[in-house]
Amino acid sequence: MPAGAEPAAPVLEVSELSKQFDGLRAVDGVSFTVLPGEILGIIGPNGAGKTVLINLVSGFYPATSGRVRLLGEDLSGLALHQIGRRGIARTFQNIRLFKRMTVLENVLVSDQRHARRPIRAFFAFGRQRAEIEKARRFIELMGLTARANQLAGTLPYGEARRLEIARALATEPALLLLDEPAAGMNEEETAELIADVRKARKLVMAVVLIEHDMSLIQALSDRVIAMDYGKVMAEGLPAAVLADPEVQRAYLGEEGDP
């Protein structure tokens, strides 16, 4: 775990966060904290506002009201790249890799030394051994070594997901946000993903995991938040939240499963 902040101080502190789209309040007064070393799971039916929440925390959408604090620092009003530099990295529900670049290059883009000083990055032509050596760690961690020089757009689904995680980790973030990482995966791939997230959590202070797949949530989360209609319905240990009658109703209502 990277140094910084006392053990008790939260990594992420979200208070009264809201997002209004025209007539719809997609996220409505959500508050929660993420503690150091923790994996927080966020569940909820489709349209519950989970992805909007992640977009607010990572700065992809500006919030209508409310606050997000990372390691005590208020992120309100910061630009996307400033939030990235403060230490939030994420993956996307609909994988967003730099498709026409190689696996190695995708991870190298995250190298903060260059990302923060693009013009100085020009003068680093030729000698890139240190950068590549660093990127190699993340590529190896996610089991993509054999693919390093392949274009990201040619990766099969599961590996593309892992590359997104490697790229996010390579920014050396404090907080990692995973937006439905198991979407479209079969059981075997999901099992692999669980192992990958366990490896990833050792490199960051905390993880927020949005997921539909209950096996993944149960295997990984230390704590779970259930959302519906933009609000927090229940919060607590995974088993307790999943057994909550309101949560059950929200899910059953959606899927119509008796």
Binding site: H81, G84, E105, R116, P118, A121, F122, A124, F125, A146
Partner: protein, 276 residues
């Protein structure tokens, strides 16, 4: 004259590269003719009215051109796609009309008396810009530009300042176009605002699209072929726009990525990447 052909080819290569570097961040600029005009007039006014030596006026003109790009680009680069293209088209018209209406720049009559640019200067400029673009393709900055083109919001979330990177590329493109303009004016001796018609900007973009947008050799090849072809095949001269149009259609059908479509990778993992 052969020297003329070579000179105009060289100017077009520089202009094509100026489009290429802006395109690396995903923005298509139809304003390179305008920045060429700014470079041409800035250098011309310095040498003819203030007695600045030619070789000092060229970098100064490049800097002025880049500064103008940053001023215009700062608000414009926040918008994207087709809207930004329209802004760059508008910029080209504005610069031409401004040059025609200010008596300081010689009005419609143009600016005369510049001299001193030779094929050697142009060759040096092409080598220098080409070398910089080659070094760029092997540097981490190339990846940053590519990432911004591929998905700018994701690139930003990784800590890349989009405004800064896009302005840098736009400014660098304007400096190269300004360089081309300064050399062009001091070769022709006499220039008028209609030397920098919107068609110049359009043709240059077409050179890049025909040659290929993924590496620095594409614009070089596109500009060379499309400048020299109509000059050497006399019958084609009057049909220049038609030939262009046909070439574009044929290319889009046969090689939509351009003649040279390969991309140079900015870094490779040579160790045990082959297998595990």
């Amino acid at each position: 004259m052969t020297v003329d052909y070579l000179f105009f080819t060289g100017v077009n290569i520089l202009l094509a590269w100026s489009v290429y570097i802006v395109l690396l961040t995903g923005n298509l600029s139809f304003a390179q003719g305008a920045f060429m005009a700014i470079g041409c007039y800035a250098a011309g006014i310095m040498t003819t009215r203030y007695g600045v030596p030619f070789l000092a006026a060229v970098p100064a003109a490049m800097a002025i051109s880049a500064a103008m790009a940053v001023v215009f680009g700062y608000p414009a680069l926040r918008i994207r796609g087709i809207y930004l293209i329209l802004v760059t088209v508008g910029l080209t018209f504005c610069v031409r009309i401004a040059l025609e209406n200010f008596s300081y720049t010689g009005g419609v009559g143009g600016l005369k008396g510049m001299s001193g640019a030779t094929l050697w200067h142009l060759g040096g400029a092409i080598l220098a810009v080409g070398a910089l673009l080659y070094l760029l393709s092997r540097s981490p900055l190339q990846r940053i530009l590519d990432a911004v083109r591929e998905d700018d919001r994701v690139a930003a979330s990784l800590g890349i300042n989009l405004t800064y990177v896009k302005l840098f590329a736009f400014g660098a493109g304007a400096a190269i176009a300004g360089l081309a303009g300064a050399l062009y004016g001091h070769y022709l001796i006499f220039v008028r605002p209609d030397n920098f018609d919107i068609l110049v900007s359009i043709f240059v973009v077409l050179y890049v699209i025909l040659g290929g947008v993924n590496n620095l050799w594409g614009p070089l090849l596109g500009a060379t072929v499309m400048t020299l072809l109509p000059e050497f095949i006399r019958a084609l001269q009057e049909w220049r726009p038609t030939v262009f149009g046909l070439a574009i259609i044929v290319m889009l059908l046969l090689r939509p990525e351009g003649l040279l479509s390969f991309r140079l990778t900015s870094a490779r993992w040579s160790g045990d990447a082959g297998g595990r």
